[in-house]
Structure formats: C-alpha cells, structure tokens
C-alpha cells in the first residue's frame, strides 16, 4: 500500500479522535427549544419555534405538521466576512438538514402546523452543518417534540489517503497528494441509518464504506454528549 502524505494530524489528534465537545440546552429564553453544540473551534446554536399555524394556508398539510429548517453563518464567524442573510450555500444546507431532521421527527399530531428550526453559526472551524444538526436535534428534543430517534452528525474527511473524523479548517485546506475530501454524515441513534450524506472530493467505493463505519463510531460518542446535555437540562432524569 502506498503511504499517505498526511501522517500526523495538524492539531495532534488521533485519526478517529473528535475535537473537544461542549453542549448546552436551553440558551434562548423566547424559543420553544434551543441548544448549543461546540466541537473545537466550531460552535453552532439552534432554536425551535412551533408547532404554530402555517401561513400561507395553501402550504399546510392536513395530515401532519411541516418542518422548516434555516441554516446560516453569522457575518463574523469566518475570516472573510460573510454578508448577512441567505446565500445559495446556506439555502442548500438548510434543505439537506431539513431532510435529515424530518426523517426522525413525527409531526403527525400537529396537522396544518409548522415547526421552524433555526441553525446559526457564530464561530466556524469547518463542520458547521454537522455541528448545526447536533444542536438542532438537541433543540427539538428540548422543545419536547416527538422524535422516533435522535440524530448525531459528523464530518469524516480524507487528507490525501488518510481517513479522519471531525475535520477542521486546516485539514479541509490540505492540498497535497489526493487533496482533501469532506464527507458530512448524519446517523440516526437507534436504527443507525444515514439521514444526511454529502461528499466533496475524491474517494474509492471501499474507502467510502470505511467512512460510514467511522462516522457511526464517532456519532456514538456525539450521541453520548447529546444525551448528557439533555439529562443535565432535565435535572438528572433520563426520559429520551
């Protein structure tokens, strides 16, 4: 086997090692649910509003509530300032996150209503959509909405030929050899299904299978952090 050009991670982590995680549930008093999820230099916050009546009326579904997700980065979250407001990138990420969360959320008890999930990134060091999903899943649980299972998400990456979990910005910019590949993955907590999957770069089929296995292991650790955050919120009682 040819040796990879990426032998030691820039910040010294093991290849399967996550960055330090911090979580907090209940950060926005006026929201129905809210949470913060931080991994290393990336921090995401999420707020849930709803269920409330969906307007305009023709958007309503008489069988179930509708989920809407909006993802965005704050202007000062990255080195090169981002103009406030939606962009093509943020619109697409919002949609894939919406699909990911819809897969576990059961809004059948709330016909004609809408649940809004707002994900915002105050500080970015790569992996913002997966951090956002982790925060959003916590916020939905905080809002007490019926979820079939939790969702945990991770960005697995490939620098040249080395597979790594929880990619940071410096690794995203690794351009030697085969260059960088970024694979955000979301895994459902009980059935271990894939609810978000994207890829940017180059990878073999065999390696991709390995990526999913790495993502599952990483998501187990994230799930643990999420469940601890919820327990803390509930004052020590566990009622998934």
């Amino acid at each position: 086997m040819v040796e990879s050009l990426y032998k030691i991670r820039i910040d010294g982590r093991q290849f399967d090692e996550l960055r330090p995680i911090k979580t907090k549930v209940g950060i926005i008093p006026s929201a129905d649910g809210s949470a913060m999820f931080e991994t290393g230099g990336t921090r995401a916050i999420a707020a849930v509003r709803g269920p409330r009546t969906l307007h305009p009326q023709h958007m309503q579904d008489s069988k179930t509530g509708v989920l809407r997700v909006s993802y965005g980065m704050m202007p000062f979250s990255v080195w090169d300032r981002i103009r406030p407001g939606p962009s093509r990138r943020s619109e697409e990420i919002s949609k894939v996150c919406e699909w990911a969360l819809s897969s576990v959320l059961d809004l059948s008890a709330f016909p004609n209503s809408v649940v809004d999930v707002f994900i915002q990134i105050p500080q970015a060091d790569a992996g913002t959509r997966v951090a956002g999903l982790n925060a959003a899943a916590l916020a939905l649980a905080d809002a007490g909405l019926p979820m079939r299972e939790m969702i945990s998400a991770i960005a697995v990456g490939k620098c040249d030929k080395t597979l790594i979990v929880d990619v940071d910005k410096a690794e995203e910019d690794f351009h030697e050899g085969e260059g960088p590949t970024d694979i955000p993955v979301a895994i459902t907590s009980r059935t271990k299904n894939v609810s978000l999957l994207q890829l940017d770069g180059k990878i073999s089929v065999k390696e991709l299978a390995e990526v999913i296995e790495m993502a599952k292991l990483a998501c187990d650790k994230i799930l643990e952090a999420q469940m601890n955050a919820l327990k803390e919120r509930n004052g020590g009682t566990d009622d998934e």
Binding site: S30, A31, I45, M74, P75, F76, G85, P122
Partner: protein
C-alpha cells in the same frame, strides 16, 4: 410575521404599576436590568462580544477588510453597521433580507458612533486615495425581550473597543489570516453611547421589556458623549407614531442627562474592560 397581541388586562397592569412608579418586574422606571457581558464569542472576528440586558441578548462582531476610500474622503477609512433581526430571536421576526426595523436599528446606532468621532477614520488610512481599512460591525440578535437599541449600541462599543487590526501584507496586497496587536484606532475620549427612553402611559421609562416596548407611544434614542464633563448629544431618533410635547421633551432631556452621569462610567468600564 405575526405581531404579538398583548391582552388589554396586561396593558392595564403595566400602566397602573407605572402610575406608582413601578414595573411588573419590580424595577423603578429608570432602572436598567442586569447587564451581562461575554467577550470573545467568535475567534475569527477582529473582536466579538455577547451582551445581555435582562433576557435580551445580541452577538456583535467586528470584521475588517482593505478597500478603496470614498472619493470625497480619500484619507479616511469606512464604517458599516448591520443588524440581523433573525426569527431565532423572536416570533415577530422574519427570515430574509433585512426589514425596516433591522435597517433602522443599525442606522441609528451607526450614526451615534460615527458622529461622535469615536472611530479615528484618518487613522484607518493605509495609503491616501488608494487603500483604507473598512470596518464592519455586525450584530445578530439572539433573543429579543425589548430595548434592542441600547443593547446593540453597547455591544457595538465593546466590540470596537477591543478590536485588533488584522495583519495586512502591503506588498502582496492581501490580509494574512492572523491579527496584529495593534488596536483599532479610536478617539477614546469621544465615545458616546445610546440611551433610549420610551413613553408608556404617562410615564417616561428606560430599558423596556418587549411588552412595555410594544405598548409605548413613542421612543427617543439619544446618543450621549462627554464634552468636558457636560453631556453632548451626537445623534437622535424619535421612533413610532406618538408625538412628544415640549414639557415631555424637556423632562426627558433632564432625566437622561442625569441617568447618563451614572451610566457613562459603567459603560466606559465595560468598553475598556476595566
């Protein structure tokens, strides 16, 4: 989106408490709620801060870039302020392009800072007529429980007060992804800060909750700075459709001048992190 309707009974409770000079949360009419500051909430910004007054919270970050100066001020940097009233913060906010409330908020705070001379625009000149620093102050509202004007104004001052210039490589004309230890050039003694008064019932109050704010007849934002121990006004904005009678205006100005004397030292301490 939806405007929140406050029940008439609640309005009556607020007004009748005010008649006794009290607020429903126990404050006097000229009391601010607790102010909580968290610095460096975003490491990629030139400076950043979270400011909480009561339950109202905003994030504010300063970013800088190099740009060409305006032709009428070839040796001065530029300053731009934005505010995002994101639906995360309140069920009354909408997603999308900034609406009039976000625009007004950013412009009122912008004027107070700009006109005071707090930012040393000439000190932001890199090469006259060619290159100057561009200063962005972006505010994101996390939770709105009233008085966004004063919270935003304070956040902008604190962020500006702690900003460091990025490293600019003049030869290659590019910004390095690191910060120098050079402070953003400021005329510290010219700082002014924004206090907003609200007419609710027949009382003038400051730092309203969302409910108090919504039932106010008008608000008046006043940016105050120090001029050799005297309060000097650097920006004004009357908001909402109510009108101010002369008696009220005189009493407001006297009231806020007194309040300014106790608040200004507090604001200075927060801005200079003392």
């Amino acid at each position: 989106m939806s405007k929140v309707v406050i029940p008439r009974l609640q309005i009556e409770r607020i007004i009748s408490a005010l008649k006794e000079g009290k607020r429903l949360d126990g404050r006097n009419i000229l009391d601010y709620r607790d102010i909580k500051i968290e610095r460096n909430i975003s490491s990629n910004a030139e400076s950043s801060v979270s400011v909480k007054i009561g339950k109202t919270e905003v994030y504010c970050g300063v970013k800088m870039a190099v740009t060409a100066p305006y032709s009428d001020s070839p040796n001065e940097g530029t300053f731009m302020m934005t505010a995002e009233l994101h639906p995360m913060a309140s069920e009354t906010f909408d997603i999308g392009r900034p609406g009039i409330n976000a625009i007004e908020l950013a412009r009122v705070i912008d004027r107070g800072i700009r006109e005071s001379g707090f930012i040393d625009f000439k000190g932001l000149c890199i090469k006259e007529g060619e290159k100057v620093w561009q200063v962005f102050v972006d505010v994101f509202v996390l939770n709105d429980d009233g008085n966004l004007f004063d919270v935003t104004g304070l956040a902008a001052l604190i962020a500006l007060g702690s900003a460091k210039l990025p490293v600019y490589n003049e030869e290659e004309d590019k910004l390095e992804h690191k910060r120098s230890d050079i402070d953003l050039p400021l005329n510290k003694e010219l700082m002014s800060f924004n206090m907003t008064v609200y007419k609710v019932g027949d009382k003038i109050l400051i730092d309203p909750t969302k409910e108090e704010e919504d039932i106010a007849d008008y608000r008046l934002s006043i940016a105050f700075g120090d001029n050799n121990g005297e309060a000097r006004i650097t920006a004004l904005q009357k908001g909402k459709a109510g009108v101010i009678n002369t008696e009220d205006l005189n009493s407001i100005l006297k009231t806020v001048e007194d309040k300014y004397k106790t608040m200004f030292p507090t604001v200075k301490k927060l801005v200079w992190n003392e």
